[in-house]
């Protein structure tokens, strides 16, 4: 079943009014005339062959711009940063923005952890979170996304993003992340960072025709001819951690550049192709990486945290939501924050909430619950749960399904209603210490969340969205129902009206019809009537 979701995080802080003295004003205006703020664009592509034979490709495009949208001076000259986004940020005083469009479900147990960057925790008062589980992602979403890039889809890595191959995959997710970053360790100046990421997993059988051989042409039906001229760095990383001596797969064309990085608590080795170097493209002036598998042994590092969610129960009256969280660390336990946003038409009963680990009750250390208001807001449940080592924790809560008004149902109401995924955030203890120095040289995907804490890394995982059926009224019946119910009320009214306004009288017998007509004629003639 394909699930689609569209997720937005927006953090807004009301802009403060800044008074400037005249001298400063003049200095700023002079300063504006002389040199515009520096901006920098980097692009990279990470390809990781997965154990199941699929291949995971992750594009990241980062634009860093030393300007400030908040100070009050209007930014008018846009170079690498897209103007449409800059105007949105300055108009609404947005502090951080994360939008992602995802199609498909990430199979953590087969593919490992994704590189999905996770936004750091912000001031909760200004955080807005929204999810649209039923939206469909298509070419109409990809094209404007590509247009935000400085080179568009004409040069650099973006030429590989062709919709017919991308949307024919098991999983793809495109995202836009905007946030301010500090320039130095004291954070005296901030610059705005725009990251656009596209993650796609190509299936061995659907896209790969069953052959364990992947190339850029096979994945994207294009090869690379040049880097984006506006990019300061344009690199391709192939994950060769499982292939140190080349016994699992063979990589052509060969490269001597290597890079090491700690990603999600795991030290990975990458072969690097630098597209800004002309000799990367060889004599053919085109780069088509080829990964050919030789053997299919080896095991994958199992992720330490995994979650699943499903609906239990039968019938259209009640049900139960079960969320299972797996902690695979052999000896460390760690806390996780579970955020659940359930629509109002599934009425949760929080007194039925149970959290069990290894068969015993596991009381959460913190619960924040905001009940729903019909047709206004959904339920919001946030819990801090400690996951014991090497265990499964199950969170269950019962709900009741509501009958909605006939206009509130979506088209095809028997398909069901989607419930957005729950979000699990955790600081997972890392197996490998992380090197926090030398952040400038590291690949983009490992620098999204520079972790000071050497022994753990931050991860945010999303469970699958749920599909729940609600009882439906008969949509063809509004007029009939109104008529029939009003008839019943009228029967009540009529009976009571009769009994209230009429009194009992002795009934005079009605003469037969012939006699009555005769009496009428007699009356007309003036003759006395019959008895």
């Amino acid at each position: 079943m394909a699930e689609q979701r569209f997720r937005v995080y927006v953090c807004v802080r009301v802009g403060a009014c800044v008074c400037m003295c005249l001298g400063l004003c003049v200095w700023v205006m002079c300063g504006c005339g002389r040199a515009h703020p520096k901006d920098d664009f980097q692009e990279e592509l990470v390809i990781r062959p997965l154990q199941s034979g699929d291949v995971y490709a992750s594009f990241q495009f980062r634009t860093l711009w030393e300007t400030d949208f908040m100070k009050g001076n209007k930014v008018s000259h846009y170079r690498l940063f897209p103007k449409s986004l800059g105007q949105v940020i300055s108009k609404f005083s947005v502090r951080e923005l994360h939008i992602s469009f995802t199609q498909g479900y990430w199979r953590t147990m087969q593919w490992g952890q994704p590189f999905m960057p996770s936004p750091p925790v912000t001031d909760h008062r200004f955080l807005r979170y929204a999810t649209l589980p039923r939206e469909i992602v298509c070419t109409e979403n990809l094209t404007p996304w590509k247009k935000l890039l400085p080179c568009g889809s004409k040069a650099g890595l973006a030429v590989l993003m062709k919709s017919e191959k991308l949307f024919h995959s098991s999983f793809h997710s495109q995202a836009v992340h905007i946030r301010p970053v500090c320039q130095d360790s004291e954070c005296t100046t901030t610059s705005w960072e725009l990251r656009q990421t596209l993650n796609v997993v190509f299936d061995l059988h659907t896209s790969g025709q069953g052959k364990r051989e992947w190339s850029l042409f096979k994945m994207f039906s294009r090869t690379l001819t040049e880097a984006c001229p506006l990019a300061s760095s344009s690199k391709i990383y192939i994950d060769i951690t499982d292939n140190p001596q080349g016994e699992q797969f063979e990589l052509t064309p060969a490269t001597h550049l290597l890079s090491q990085a700690v990603v999600l608590g795991d030290r990975r080795t990458f072969s690097v192709y630098d597209l800004t170097e002309a000799n990367t493209f060889g004599s053919m002036r085109s780069l088509n990486l080829l990964i050919r598998w030789k053997s299919s042994e080896g095991d994958m590092l199992r992720p330490l945290l995994h979650a699943e969610r499903y609906v239990a129960g039968y019938g259209l009256q009640t049900g139960e939501i079960h969320t299972l969280m797996y902690n695979y660390h052999p000896f460390r336990s760690f806390p996780i924050l579970l955020l659940d946003s359930v629509p109002w038409y599934l009425r949760l009963y929080i007194h039925t909430l149970t959290v069990t680990s290894k068969g015993k009750d596991n009381k959460p250390s913190y619960i924040h619950y905001q009940p729903s208001k019909d047709r206004v807001r959904p339920h919001l449940l946030e819990m801090l749960v400690q996951l014991p080592p090497n265990s499964v924790t199950e969170v269950t809560v019962q709900f009741e399904r509501a009958l909605l008004k006939w206009t509130e149902y979506t088209p095809d109401p028997n398909h069901g209603f989607y419930v957005g995924s729950s979000v699990i955030s955790a600081l997972v203890p890392s197996m490998v210490a992380m090197d926090t120095n030398n952040t400038k040289e590291r690949p983009l995907f490992s620098s999204f969340f520079p972790c000071k804490e050497e022994s753990s890394y931050f991860v945010r995982i999303y469970t699958e969205p749920l599909l729940v059926n609600l009882p439906t009224p008969d949509f063809s019946m509004p007029y009939n129902v109104i008529c029939l119910t009003c008839t019943v009320v009228a029967v009540g009214y009529g009976s009571l009206y009769n009994l209230l306004t009429r009194s009992f009288q002795i009934e005079e017998p009605n003469p037969r019809l012939a006699k009555r007509i005769a009496n009428v004629i007699r009356r007309l003639r003036g003759v006395p009537p019959l008895a």
Binding site: T318, W344, I367, D374, P478, I482, V489, Q505, I506, E508
Partner: protein, 405 residues
Amino acid sequence: MAAPLTVVLIVAVTVRACLFRSSLADLIAERVEVVSPLNAWKRVVEGLALLDLGVSPYSGDVFHETPLIIYLFHFLVDYAEITFMVSSLSSHIVLYCLLLSLIVTSCCLFVDRYLLNPFTVLSCVAKSTCGLNNAIVALFILSTIKKNALLSAIFLALSTYQSIYPVTLCAPAVLYLLQRQYIPVNVRWASFWWFLLQYAFMYLGSLFVIICLSFFLLGSWDYLPSVYGFILSVPDLTPNIGLFWYFFAEMFEHFRLFFLCVFQINVFFYTIPLSIKLKEHPVFLIFMQLAVISIFKSYPTVGDIALYMSFLPVWSHLHRFLRNIFLVSCVLLACSALFPVLWHLWIYSGSANSNFYYAITLLFNVAQILLVSDYFYAFLRREHHLTYGLYLKRKDGSEATLVLK
């Protein structure tokens, strides 16, 4: 022969205790015919759990009970079964005393209809707070019959505070008390207005005190829209045995407010005409009002029906004038049996749809309306015979037939 009160009580307690301990208790507590969003036990527990979590129970849309219920069950939540059993038994005892003082003839068969009525048993086992509401209404009627105006006003205020509709019982209470004090119901008499003012003052005063007490209990007025706004605006369309749910599920948005007003006015609308017609017979007026409330309220349950049906033995002398009693009892029995069947077919099997359940709802309500109007007809007919004699003759001496004209 009437069974002694104690035997009935023992049998009733036994039946309820057995059902409480069996697996049927959970099943019955989920049935939509027995519980509604207003009085389900599950929602009371949910409200108390929200209070424990530090969230106001009225901030969501799941809890619609009054703050006094929160206060009561804050202490009694572990003894819930005993509470509901006691309230059921006390309603029965109250009604027993009531019916004994009301029954005209000495033939008091089956005075114990309240406790052994299957609807009451279901309502008690489901721990629906309808049982508590019924107990308060029964106490109100008893205090009215015993001519205690203050207690009558207090219990009526409590009953109105729980669900708005019993405010229509003001009229029969006033009429009964006036009758007992030999004050004629005439707008030109000063004593009539004086008594009316006294009763209104006692009633409104107790209502005001109870509402202010509820405010101080939780410190906010949030409960007013959650309880009374909910009863009057009917946002929750959970199926029940009433007429509102499917009607408003299929209503065009443009007309929703109009029909909501029409349906709510329909409940209060019969008070004045019935009071004028039945001003000499306030006890029958109470019965008629209770019946109208139970049929036309926004979230009826079988517990409400059990209350007015327990009054039927008082008018056992009307049986000879009832015209449709056989039809009505057959339809009521058949519908009561079909409700769970068609619910199962719609919700669990998926082989029927909502129209089946809705049809049985319509039929059930038509049967109830027929029952009530039949008893009204019989009452009026008996009054006519009391005035003009039982065997009427026409002018020519043959046997007459009476019609309503």
